[in-house]
Symmetry: C2
């Protein structure tokens, strides 16, 4: 399906995104759709900077991008992951469960299915433990 509006995008999951937005009570807006689409089309997590750069042309305003990423993350449609480097990146939330392997030199990120088989920690000061993130790091072939 091709949709032309203020910003242009090509996407097959538009209806899905709309449904998700509806479900979490966020309005369906071009800015949110274009950002969801962008994240979906990139298999790798994207930093804000990249999102801004990739959308630059007729893109939503930068404040809008920040606000959209924030609301989408809060509502769980997008995941914010933070790599060892300290840079926050965003990815579509409903990907199959996976983790990341990141190159310490160049920042290249690879998804890995390896998961954490250990039990959830039991700590007196916490009531609920409901999520985990596992990140491996090393040196990619290019940098080695």
């Amino acid at each position: 399906m091709r949709v032309t509006c203020k910003y242009e995008y090509v996407n097959n999951s538009i209806e899905e995104f709309k449904e998700q937005l509806r479900k979490v009570g966020l309005r369906i807006t071009p800015a949110r759709l274009v950002i969801l689409t962008l994240l979906q089309n990139h298999s790798k997590p994207l930093e804000v900077r990249s999102v801004l750069r990739l959308l630059k042309a007729s893109a939503p305003d930068q404040a809008t991008v920040y606000r959209a990423l924030s609301s989408l993350t809060t509502c769980g449609l997008v995941k914010a992951i933070t790599l060892k480097s300290g840079i926050v990146s965003y990815e579509i939330a409903n990907l199959p469960h996976h983790h990341h392997l990141i190159c310490e030199r160049c920042g290249y990120v690879e998804d890995v299915e390896t998961c954490c088989e250990s039990p959830r920690p039991r700590v007196a000061s916490f009531t609920i433990v409901n999520d985990h993130r596992l990140e491996f790091s090393g040196i990619c072939n290019n940098c080695a």
Copy 2:
């Protein structure tokens, strides 16, 4: 041992820190020692902002703090960890192997010993995998 110099600090590991700095080839300076001491005295990882705030009085200049955290991290004396929230925090590197459990509401961090028992991922695009970080998140008692 009590050492008074341009900035003041109380510490029992000064000699250890000096030895570590020597080993990695960084000069032994008051700024580095005071930052290592601060990180050591806090059991929790600290963000740059907190480091700056806690040191404020007769502290090293902010540019110096950034530079020191950076060089200490590069040389491996300090670890930069990035929590789900996207905030980068720093902790002394030579703590026993552990991971973190963070409250999604308030950011409270607890160290946990639970580790990842799964095998290191084998991925064609990576030559070396040499580290991992595991982060659990949930709701702490205070927020629950």
